[in-house]
């Protein structure tokens, strides 16, 4: 993992932060994948209800529901899965590259399970109605187990990003895989999958023709039992939060306002669904019509969205904790980049370079592109000019020089004082409405001052600084 710094061409996502672009796709993909996983289990349950004579309607439901699962999850799920991969490359090629390097065999394992899932799924899809019960059950169990194992494998890799455990000490891939948040997150996601599948089932039951209200009601209440494990979510949540690093936890508990908001919203949405399931569906045996079912599914999608946002967010400033920052620079490279600069070796020129008033501002744009653009835009979502709008020039210099102290979820500044000054001038230029001309600032005193701030704060991550101070 000590390859020389790879310079990739960086794209401009317009007014969106890159995180948002990948976030939306990620939410859709996670939701669909969890629906497919829970769907597999739910169908095993219904097949059992049917073949043991407990529920005569169950078989009809299984066949109807499975068509739906295939149509949605094989198609949308598979394509958005590939999409996640491509989107991750767009946001941080180096992150996915490192993950592929470390875990490619586990991805290959996951691929064998995915192939099995597709095979068993299609066999059931095409021939399920012509098969005896025992064989139907066999196919469904294989399908459900294969799809759950996809979750199992991928969960290890993704949870490793935030909680690498002993991985960097031992270098053993399995230490990274069975990391501290592996079990809480895999169980949490399993429970979520069951809940999503149950809600989707309520929706599908309402869409099924030739069924009267009484029959629908019966099926809906069967499906509702899959929502009960969701009641354990608060406990599982606590377990998960206990497993992740304290600083990440603190972002959601007020350290970062949007993150805390999303966290609370995710909890509220999930609790609403769980309470409705317990009291409305199971205790009071209320009927869910298509409208209510859609509403509940949307609520689950929202909960997923908020939760995914938090999960992506709490990794900051890293994509691979303790190793790689969000802006694709490793912890170890910061010191060297402070000497040689982050723009020096970048072979990719600025696009439309002639729109900048002078070379210094142009360089500032490059520094922004390499160090900040993964989390900020110039003047739209999380716009750099907005977050620094009220500051004096000198405040900007100091707060950017001590970036990891300004907010510990930002990486340390990884460039020379000269580059930092260029960035500050670029921000000032945009704040002034991008005028045609702009003076270059070249006061050696300023650069000396910046250097001093950089030296004061050092090259360690903000999290480490906080931890050290906490320990004292």
């Amino acid at each position: 993992m000590d390859s020389p710094f790879p310079h990739y061409p960086v794209n401009d996502f317009g007014p969106l932060m890159k995180g948002i672009a990948i976030g939306v796709l990620g939410i859709v993909h996670v939701f669909l994948a969890q629906f497919a996983i829970g769907g597999g289990m739910l169908m095993c349950y219904f097949q059992w209800l049917g073949q043991t004579g407990r529920e005569p309607l169950a078989r009809k439901f299984t066949d109807g529901f499975f068509k739906f699962v295939v149509l949605v999850s094989f198609v949308l799920g598979a394509v958005t899965g590939v999409g996640m991969w491509f989107a991750t490359i767009q946001v941080s090629a180096r992150t996915i590259g490192t993950m592929v390097g470390e875990f490619h065999w586990l991805w290959a394992v996951e691929w064998t399970f995915f192939s099995l899932e597709i095979t068993a799924g299609y066999c059931f899809y095409r021939y399920g109605t012509k098969l005896p019960d025992r064989e139907r059950m066999t196919l469904l169990v294989i399908y459900a187990a294969a799809s759950w194992f996809s979750l199992f494998w991928i969960n290890g890799i993704l949870s490793w990003q935030l909680t690498p455990g002993d991985f960097y000490e031992t270098g053993n891939m399995w230490d990274g895989f069975f990391n501290p948040s592996f079990f809480p997150s895999v169980i949490f996601r399993t429970v979520t999958s069951m809940g999503i599948a149950a809600l989707a089932a309520c929706l599908v039951v309402n869409l099924m023709p030739e069924m009267d209200r009484e029959q629908r009601n019966t099926l809906i209440h069967r499906a509702a039992y899959f929502l009960t494990p969701a009641l354990a979510m608060p406990l599982l949540g606590v377990w998960y939060f206990w497993a992740i690093p304290a600083d990440s936890r603190s972002w959601t508990l007020g350290g970062n306002v949007p993150m805390m908001m999303f966290f609370v919203l995710a909890i509220v949405c999930s609790m609403f669904i769980a309470v409705y399931a317990l009291f409305g569906l199971i205790r009071a045996r209320l009927y869910i019509n298509g409208m209510t079912a859609s509403l509940l599914v949307s609520l689950a999608l929202l909960a997923t969205a908020f939760a995914e946002f938090v999960r992506e967010g709490v990794r900051k400033p890293y994509t691979l904790r303790g190793y790689l920052y969000s802006n694709s620079i490793t912890e170890d490279e910061v010191a060297r980049l402070r000497e040689v600069g982050c723009t020096t070796d970048d072979p990719y020129p600025l696009r439309a370079a002639d729109r900048y008033p002078n070379e210094q501002v142009a360089k500032g744009a490059l520094v922004y592109r390499n160090l900040c653009s993964v989390c900020h835009t110039p003047d739209a979502a999380n716009g750099l000019t907005h977050v620094t709008g009220t500051w004096t020039v000198s405040q900007r210099r100091m707060n950017i020089a001590k970036l990891q102290r300004t907010k510990p979820f930002m990486p340390p500044f990884a460039g020379t004082p000269d580059e930092l000054e260029a960035l500050v001038q670029w921000i000032g230029w945009i704040n002034s409405g991008r005028p045609e001309t702009w003076p270059e600032s070249n006061d050696p005193e300023t650069l000396r001052e910046i250097q001093q701030w950089l030296d004061e704060v050092g090259t360690k991550s903000g999290l480490e600084l906080l931890a050290e101070e906490g320990a004292h």
Binding site: N11, I89, L116
Partner: protein, 367 residues
Amino acid sequence: MDALFPFGFPEPTRFYLALYVATLVLHVVFMHYVLAGTAFLAGRGLLARLGIDTERPAYLLREWMPLMLSAAITAGIAPLLFVQIVYQERFYTANLLLFNRWMAILPTLLIGFYMLYLLKVNADVLKRPLIRQAIRVLTFVCFAFVAWSWTENHLLSVQSLGVWTEHYASGALMFKTPELAPRLALWFCGSFPTLAAWLAWQIRLTATDDEHREIDHPSVARLLAGIGLVGLLSAALCAAAYYAMLGDAERELMTGPPAGPWFIIAIVGAVIQSAGWIVIWKQNALPRGLLLIVSIALLVTLCGTAVVREAIRLARVDITTLYNAHTQAAAVSGLGAFVFFLVVNTALMLFCIRLVRTKVESRGTRV
């Protein structure tokens, strides 16, 4: 690099390169079905004008296409994994340079996928001939676009840093190079012999539903032979055109020790396939033994072509600079787990297929 591919490389590189090529062939086998199959559906109106009956293959294609597309995508994930190990930075750089134009393959795949279901639906609006034909053409266009994207991305990934930075600075959406047309045409034409072999097996192995029962093999044997032969011939022409366009470095590797033997067996495979299809034409039947020979020859051609394709890339990429990265990748654990689950899950897949074949059959309806 004087030894036969993949032997002329240090161990880790050889290993990953071989896996990459092998899994790519798997992808190609399914991808060809999708590409040529949707082209066939879009163009079958023309064949109908010539009085050729295409009902049976068209029915099979509509029925099987969603599964085959799933298979093509799933099989594509494996080479996608290995290409990221063998040529990581190049692959990512091409992805990033093409940006939105590259990401466009995702919505396109989705649209194409759902169009496949539309082809099967019998709603009244969809029965209007013009709408039917529009759906068929659009479906094909979707997958042709995806094929074009992969070729374009591949060609961009083997360029020099100078070309990359120039491309980046220009902000161009597409990467244009004269190589693109013959290369893409080769992929397209080459997909028809694969389609013909697939269809022949599907016709032999699947039951004819009631409405299709009266159509017997002979009427399709000639059609498939025709598809195979036209595909092989046109692919050979594209290959010649592409070869003429390549430089000395590429030709040296393609015909020299590393890939030359592969080149030869690719040609031999194509000749055997042609001979096989000619016999099928003459016999006007799809005998099992002959199909087996044609299919093996097809696989040989595909493997040979995949290696020759790699040789073109190796002529442009200094792979020695990547040895280190491959060695590092090979140092991680998990290979054992992969082999174990590959065996178990392949067995389970075969079990599922066997279960469906035996159990459904025993109830009277053949699969």
